[in-house]
């Protein structure tokens, strides 16, 4: 099978997969006990979005570190692509989280540590792009934004693990509880849909990311030829 054919198969699989995930989230998974109404089903989309936002951050970190080592513009393109997607998904995660909070506790925002963490991630992405916008020179833009990305990554463990320990959290203990241990308390059907959704969203991220990087590669190659 050629690369193009393989890509096509994967893409259509993803398309169908996510349709199944949507239907599963709305019909197959049982209504959650203790949660009001059906709106709690948004969790099947909220958790993967938050997960992808963090995944994008990790991809950005790796690309940034690589850029600092290799000074290859494609690594900068990779970092920017990951950050762009990370920004989109962290906005989505914040919005869906806020909607969920409104259903559960009748207020859109509660200053719960995990809520704050996803907003801080959003702010990091926004700051990353604000920095990039402020630098016209390409090489300097690449290295400074890479430096900021690495710096920001250093603070992440503190958000996720340290701050929640200090505060009581009203965020529902989903997969990772405040102790950091994996809690598989969900009903199996819910878990199936959640994991399916995680896989689906990761696939979507991976596709969009690869597309952006391929596009950047084409652009760089074209510019290389024009300069020659």
């Amino acid at each position: 099978m050629t690369k193009t054919q393989l890509r096509g198969v994967l893409q259509w699989t993803l398309g169908v997969w996510l349709v199944l995930v949507i239907l599963g989230a709305l019909f197959y998974a049982p209504s959650a006990l203790g949660f009001k109404g059906e709106s709690a089903r948004i969790v099947f989309f909220h958790v993967p979005q938050a997960w992808v936002a963090v995944l994008a951050f990790c991809v950005n970190l790796v690309a940034s570190l690589r850029y600092l080592r290799t000074r290859n513009p494609i690594d900068d393109a990779r970092a920017a692509a990951a950050a762009r997607l990370g920004l989109v998904f962290s906005v989505l995660a914040t919005v869906t989280g806020s909607l969920f909070a409104n259903v559960m506790w009748n207020s859109f925002w509660n200053w719960d540590p995990r809520e704050v963490s996803i907003v801080i991630l959003l702010l990091i992405y926004a700051a990353y792009f604000a920095l990039r916008e402020a630098i016209p020179d390409e090489e300097r833009r690449a290295s400074l934004s890479a430096a900021y990305a690495v710096l920001a990554f250093v603070t992440m463990p503190f958000l996720i693990f340290v701050v929640p320990r200090i505060y009581w959290s009203l965020h529902p203990d989903t997969i990772i509880g405040a102790t950091g241990k994996l809690k598989l308390q969900m009903e199996s059907r819910m878990l199936q849909v959640l994991l399916g959704s995680l896989v689906g969203f990761t696939g979507l991220f991976s596709w969009l990311y690869t597309l952006e990087v391929r596009l950047a590669r084409v652009r760089l190659a074209r510019r290389g030829r024009e300069e020659a």
Binding site: L123, L144, A147, Y148, V150, V154, V162
Partner: protein, 229 residues
């Protein structure tokens, strides 16, 4: 091979910063003025009697750090931006090795913050009727907080000085990094005010120290990249 050691170069950079600052007093004035103005505004309007007893621990700790942080932001980015503005950056690059520049400017920011805290915190406690039970704990927390805040601000200042250098950009880049620190400091202040035992302030202290230490370590790696571009 340089004849001078890292320590002597760092101290030389620090000396230069202090001399320049004492001559013009721009950062000191900005920081002091912002701090004092905000403090007076808060103390006048709120004072020791207007907050309910049950709300006092939270509000007093939070307000203190709002004042301190707001005042600090106005002065912390100057260390690098003024070099770029005065075009003395290139000379500095030749004169001292990168780590010495980082160390000297970090220490300068630290002294600036320490002065701000020493000035504002006692005044705040007096004006707001903030009785702190664990004074040594608080002092320790303030010291560690100053180190952590200085560490973050210095590397961010270095980054933005090579971009547009504007204070707005400094604030945008600092906010996500400083927010967890701020949260821990407020929590720690509340704990220190409430209890004389060091154990109360320990969780927050651990968080602040590890965040500050991690930031310093990563700055050592990142600064040469940022400085030499």
């Amino acid at each position: 091979m340089r004849a001078s050691t890292l320590l002597s170069e760092s101290l030389a950079v620090l000396g230069k910063e202090l001399t320049a600052e004492l001559r013009s007093r721009v950062a000191l004035n900005a920081v002091g003025l912002f701090g004092l103005t905000t403090l007076i505004a808060v103390a006048y309007q709120i004072g020791p009697y207007r907050i309910q007893e049950q709300d006092r621990p939270h509000l007093l700790a939070a307000l203190l750090w709002v004042i301190l942080f707001f005042a600090a932001t106005s002065g912390l980015s100057r260390v690098f931006v003024k070099e770029e503005d005065a075009h003395t950056a290139k000379t500095l690059r030749l004169a001292a090795r990168p780590l010495a520049v980082l160390a000297g400017k970090f220490l300068f920011n630290l002294i600036l913050l320490a002065s701000l805290y020493a000035f504002i915190v006692p005044l705040y406690c007096a004006l707001m009727g903030y009785s702190v039970r664990g004074v040594p704990s608080l002092v320790l927390l303030l010291a560690c907080g100053a180190v952590a805040l200085s560490a973050t601000s210095t590397i961010v200042a270095a980054i933005i000085s090579r971009a547009s250098g504007s204070t707005t950009l400094f604030a945008i880049l600092s906010v996500p990094l400083v927010l967890p620190l701020l949260v821990m400091l407020i929590q720690g202040t509340r704990a220190a005010a409430g209890s004389a035992a060091v154990a109360a302030v320990l969780p927050a202290l651990q968080g602040v120290v590890s965040l500050g230490g991690a930031t310093l370590l990563i700055s050592v790696y990142l600064f040469p990249v940022v400085w030499h571009d």
